[in-house]
């Protein structure tokens, strides 16, 4: 295997960022409100040069009020979920791990809903509660998934499914008993929705995102070793427990951030890391950054489709990712069995 150079990481990430940029411009162009590419670029340029008064008010509403915030949110959520997926896959040594499949997203969603009921107006409480829900769910699923002191792949997935359905039932119960306008929008949010913008500033969430991705990235060489075998990694001087703790917390934070702003969008964390493995190999030093950017590309694409294919109506973005992700999940599962 050719050694992985920093230059290669930067080159691959740069190329992916280029794809993301082009995709974002195309996405900015699409929507119920017709604008041609020149108007878009002109509006963006005037916005970037702070000449707001030269932009027609409606263009400003469409581009800076509607389409750009959605793309920004999509990038955040996609990067968070994919990196979390890649992290969980290493942590649990299971290629089918994904925040949604493991029930971690449902745990985060339950946390978010509880915080909306208990402290509806505290800024940041949703994120904290979603993180707590995610972290607790991972812990429970992890311990349920062990058999004879060993993590068992099938048992782990079953534990995830059980956790997800149990948590969904609790969410259902809360939503039925607490009737009210504010909780009704949650049906949409639960399916995964990028339309509502978060109460917390997006910049703060981006900072948390980058720190968490950075944390997982610093452990990526160790993750490579751990994936070849924990004992071997220990012999080579890797502090396995510390690495696992870092990945566990960071992946839970990422899931919490994503779920708190967009609900449960499934399968991105499964789909994207696998595509990246096929494209760029299994080295975690490359897999983590490419998964982050690839996840952003995937969600921006899914959301663009979700808001254009049935226009003027809209599909929840979670439905789009499930349409693409569920078949891939089945494919991966069958390939492993063979």
């Amino acid at each position: 295997m050719r050694p992985l150079t920093p230059r290669k990481i930067v080159a691959v990430c740069g190329a992916l960022l280029g794809v993301l940029f082009v995709e974002s411009v195309i996405s900015l162009r699409l929507g119920a409100y017709a604008m041609d590419a020149r108007d878009i670029l002109e509006t963006l340029y005037r916005g970037a040069t702070q000449r707001w008064d030269e932009i027609p008010p409606e263009y400003r509403q469409i581009i800076f009020g509607l389409r750009l915030p959605r793309i920004e949110l999509g990038i955040l959520v996609g990067a968070a979920l994919s990196t979390a997926g890649a992290g969980f896959q290493a942590l649990l040594r299971n290629p089918l791990a994904d925040p949604y499949v493991l029930g971690v997203s449902s745990g985060a969603a339950l946390g978010a809903i509880l915080s909306l009921i208990a402290t509806p107006h505290t800024v940041g409480a949703i994120q904290l509660a979603a993180f707590t829900g995610a972290a607790l769910t991972v812990a429970v699923v992890y311990f349920l998934g062990r058999r004879g002191g060993q993590l068992d792949s099938a048992t782990l997935l079953l534990a995830g499914i059980v956790a997800a359905s149990f948590l969904s039932a609790v969410i259902m119960f809360l939503m039925t008993t607490i009737s009210g306008r504010d909780l009704r929008g949650m049906a949409f949010w639960l399916m995964g929705d990028l339309q509502s913008s978060p109460a917390v500033g997006l910049s703060w969430l981006y900072i948390v995102l980058l720190i968490a991705i950075g944390c997982i990235f610093t452990t990526s060489s160790d993750l490579n070793l751990i994936l070849t075998g924990e004992q071997e990694a220990r012999h080579l001087g890797v502090n396995v427990n510390r690495v696992k703790l870092v990945v566990y917390i960071a992946a839970s934070v990422l899931t919490g951030v994503a779920v708190s702003v967009s609900g449960t969008i499934g399968y991105v964390g499964l789909l994207v890391p696998h595509v990246m493995r096929l494209l760029f190999g299994t080295d975690y030093r490359l897999l983590i950054p490419t998964s982050a950017i690839g996840g952003a590309i995937a969600i921006v694409l899914a959301d663009t489709l979700a808001r254009t294919v049935v226009s003027p109506a809209e599909l929840p973005v979670g439905a789009m990712t499930a349409l693409a992700g569920a078949p891939v999940f089945i494919y991966l599962m069958r390939r492993r069995i063979r």
């Binding site: 920093p6 990481i9 306008r181 009704r184 980058l210």
Partner: protein
Amino acid sequence: MEMILERRTAWTKLAQVASGLLVCATIALGHPIRAQGSELTPAARAQEAAKTDSSPATKIVTDEAGRRVTVPVNVRRVVSLAPNLTETVYALGLADKLAGDTSYCDTPEAAKEKPHVGAPVNPNLEAIVALHPDLVLATAINRQETVDALARLGIPAYYTDPRTVSGMLETTTLLGDLLGAREQAATLVRELQDTLDALQPQLRERPPAHVFFVVWEDPPISIGQNTFIADALRWAGAESVIIAKQDWPQVSMEEIVRLRPEYIVLISNHSADGGDAAKQIDDLRVRAAWNALEAVKLGRVVVADEEIMRPSPGLVGAIVTLAHDLHPEVFGSAAAKSAALARVAGCGELALELKVETGAAVACAR
């Protein structure tokens, strides 16, 4: 070993990638966020001010959610986000001001021809912006998120929340005020109130009919006490057997059997059955579990007009029909019902078509 040595370089790589991502995020987030008035640059604010000068003044009103909304004194283009609001706008004779509505808005017929902005629960915000509204009307079937998003875009959204029949009349008055149709609203509301009051002396002689109101058949979903439908039933001399705090409680078949409703009230389904009430009743008679109910066996099934689900002026017509269907002893024959409905249809500028069971359509063109 090679891998461990490479761990050193991982840190420098991290720094590079992180700074790259950070630059992207900064560029993306660098724009003054959203088109909110307070966040506009001074130049843009001046332009906003100039724009407001050219158009007539605005006023600040408090909507039914307690939100303070700045609306133009002369509203020119309205987008309605719910069927009942669309109907109210038409009933006030303001069809010209309605710039767009939802794909659910089917009454009156002309509402179907207006540009649609999607379904009430998830309208397309871009489609709303594209219609250049100076006011958007929202209500309880819309999501809070939609109303918030409109506020962020600087499009005034007025939220209505009628929870009773009187509340519907108040909302009609408020909307008349808001849209510059105070006179029409006053006349309309007075006539609707008179129609409702006219029913009451006869109904007072009778105990209320205990009904099971069917919002959905399978699984059975009914109405809670705090819905305007429960109130509409009271005006029609009926009482829902379901006591629930939720607005749309799901009920078990067993519970319905236990509560022994005198009547089952279905909602007319124009889209699926073409409003064929007889077919709906026949369907229920052969439906498992439902056919065991005493009310169904005795043929005490009434099909209410779809308008019963919409807190709009058309609700009053639905109440009149329902009262006649549930209390034929006091109101007499179908002819009496047609006459009563014709009176409702004559209200104000109502251009609603009220379909009577006999098949005769009473159109109003006063």
